[in-house]
């Protein structure tokens, strides 16, 4: 009997267990999945929780429900990966040997990377919304907040779901309008990049959203520290931005087990082949989702497309065939723009988000890079798709793992 071990039962790990249980012969392969936490969170829902659009119940379920019955599910902390010995050490020194390892340990926020961020004002007037705890604490704060300077801030790239901070700013505009207090709130979006939008087509077609919603932009801001006593963030060029409420996306890092095991880069992400998803150092270790260092977005849709390709590559690896470098960086994301509307974007390593229709060329019904109510309904419906199809490894009709170029208006690639 051979062992395939998956580390992490988040979006990517759970999907891989569901794909592989159907593909690997039961009498030859034992599939084990390890995750210390009991709860599976619907992470896209963390964007909606602060605004009372989703309830806490809508964003979490018991993880066990989504793990196939024939897989072994171990709920223990992962202490160390020992690639040379082909084994994983769990808490209480329990050892788990593998023939193939899939690392899906994700990324986490690391607010302690910035001086003053997770100090005494953390969850008082400084919040994240990338964790369940942060999103819930922020919801409670927003319910009673009387207004002032709201600063939505990105610490450094890469981050999970790179558009979420911008969506947060858009939804905040709607939220305060509905509460009849928009005039009491000043919204500023602060980014280390050159703009809230960074690609030419998106900047051209979407910059109006910031103007329309009266959201100020502070760009090229590389934060050095949070002065929590005086409610200011300060960057390396000594630029200061004052806040009354700071909603920040802290540094995102891979799991500390990757660092302990000496397998990661500066941010604990695992160097991985961007087409095949095999790790660069070890041929029997594969990485998927947010845990990798590949230049794709860290997002559930990316993990979903990767899972289909990685499943094929695991089967090729077992047969001794050459792996295919098929993953093209495909991502497909709904972007909330507030007031019941959303955008849809579809892009990959080489093609920028463009205008067009999705998923049917020329027909839609969803329109790319254009605000619409249908796109918003799509985003809301996606929660059902996530729990019932996506993480169970059910193929989503008409949406392929690699990007289709039909029905889209391509301009030059940069």
């Amino acid at each position: 009997m051979k062992n395939l071990v998956i580390l992490g039962a988040g979006t990517a790990g759970t999907m891989m267990s569901n794909h592989l249980i159907k593909k690997l012969p039961k009498n030859e392969w034992k599939i084990t999945i390890v995750d210390q936490f009991k709860t599976h969170y619907y992470q896209p829902g963390f964007l909606f929780l602060p605004f009372d659009i989703y309830t806490t119940k809508q964003v979490k379920k018991k993880g066990r429900k989504f793990i196939p019955k024939n897989a072994t599910y171990i709920q223990k902390r992962i202490e160390l990966i020992e690639p040379k010995e082909n084994r994983v050490i769990l808490e209480n020194n329990e050892q788990l040997s593998y023939d193939i390892l899939i690392v899906a340990t994700g990324s986490k926020i690391a607010p302690d990377e910035i001086e003053g961020m997770d100090g005494p004002m953390w969850y008082k007037n400084i919040f994240d919304f990338y964790t369940y705890e942060g999103a819930k604490a922020l919801r409670d704060k927003l319910r009673e907040w009387e207004g002032g300077k709201l600063v939505v801030h990105i610490t450094e790239m890469p981050i999970k779901c790179p558009v979420a901070p911008l969506e947060f700013a858009f939804l905040a505009d709607s939220y305060f309008k509905h509460k009849g207090m928009r005039d009491k709130v000043d919204i500023t979006f602060v980014t280390p990049l050159g703009g809230a939008f960074t690609k030419p087509t998106a900047t051209k077609t979407l910059h109006y959203l910031l103007e329309e919603k009266n959201i100020k932009e502070v760009t090229d801001f590389n934060i050095e520290r949070v002065d929590y006593e005086n409610n200011k963030i300060i960057d390396y060029a000594d630029t200061e931005v004052e806040y009354d409420l700071l909603v920040t996306v802290p540094t995102n890092m891979g799991d500390s087990v990757i660092e302990r095991s000496g397998m990661g880069d500066d941010l604990n992400f695992i160097p991985t082949n961007k087409g095949s998803l095999q790790t660069l150092e070890h041929e029997n270790i594969f990485a998927i989702g947010d845990a990798t260092n590949i230049p794709a977005s860290k997002a559930g849709s990316v993990a979903h497309f990767e899972a289909e390709i990685l499943t094929d590559n695991i089967l090729r690896y077992i047969k001794g065939e050459e792996l295919k470098e098929e993953f093209d960086g495909h991502a497909n994301c709904f972007i909330e723009t507030g007031n019941g509307k959303a955008l849809l974007i579809d892009f990959n390593y080489t093609h920028e988000p463009v205008e067009g229709t999705f998923p049917f060329p020329g027909v839609g019904p969803l329109r790319l890079l254009k605000e619409s109510r249908a796109n918003h309904m799509g985003k809301m419906a996606f929660r059902w798709v996530y729990w019932n199809m996506l993480i169970k490894g059910v193929h989503i009709p008409f949406v392929s793992a690699t990007m289709s170029e039909k029905g889209k208006h391509y301009e030059k690639v940069n």
Binding site: E156, M157, P158, P162, V163, P192, L193, G194, F197, T198, K199, P200, A202, L206, T219, D220, N222, E224, Y236, A237, T251, D265, D266, L267, K274, N293, P295, S297, A331, C333, I335, I345, F347, P353, K412, N414
Partner: protein, 102 residues
């Protein structure tokens, strides 16, 4: 769009970033720097080489990376490329500026 530098035609985007890194050489780098009112010193070149190396390896550029590079500290980086150091240094180095997904 096309741009003439030193009697040579190079492809750039609307913001002036080179579209094809193979068209870059030191002379082009110097001219691009001049347009940003920067005179390149040895330290500038060290940073540019570091950035180009990261670009070839397809590794993301960040202020954290600069901090850990051992080439330069962040205050120096700001003083060499004032007002948006990553934006300006990547333009001069002939590589794309750091981007998000939209």
């Amino acid at each position: 769009m096309k741009k003439m530098i030193e009697q040579r035609e190079i492809e750039v985007n609307e913001e002036g970033y080179l579209l094809d890194f193979s068209q870059w050489d030191k002379e082009i780098g110097e001219k691009l720097a001049e347009e940003q009112n920067i005179i390149l010193t040895d330290k500038h070149w060290e940073v540019i080489e570091y950035l180009q190396d990261k670009h070839r390896k397809e590794e993301a550029l960040s202020i954290r990376g600069i901090k850990k590079s051992g080439v330069i500290n962040i205050k120096e980086f700001y003083s060499l490329f004032p007002g948006g150091p990553l934006k300006k240094s990547t333009l001069i180095a002939g590589i794309p500026k750091p981007k998000s997904c939209i």
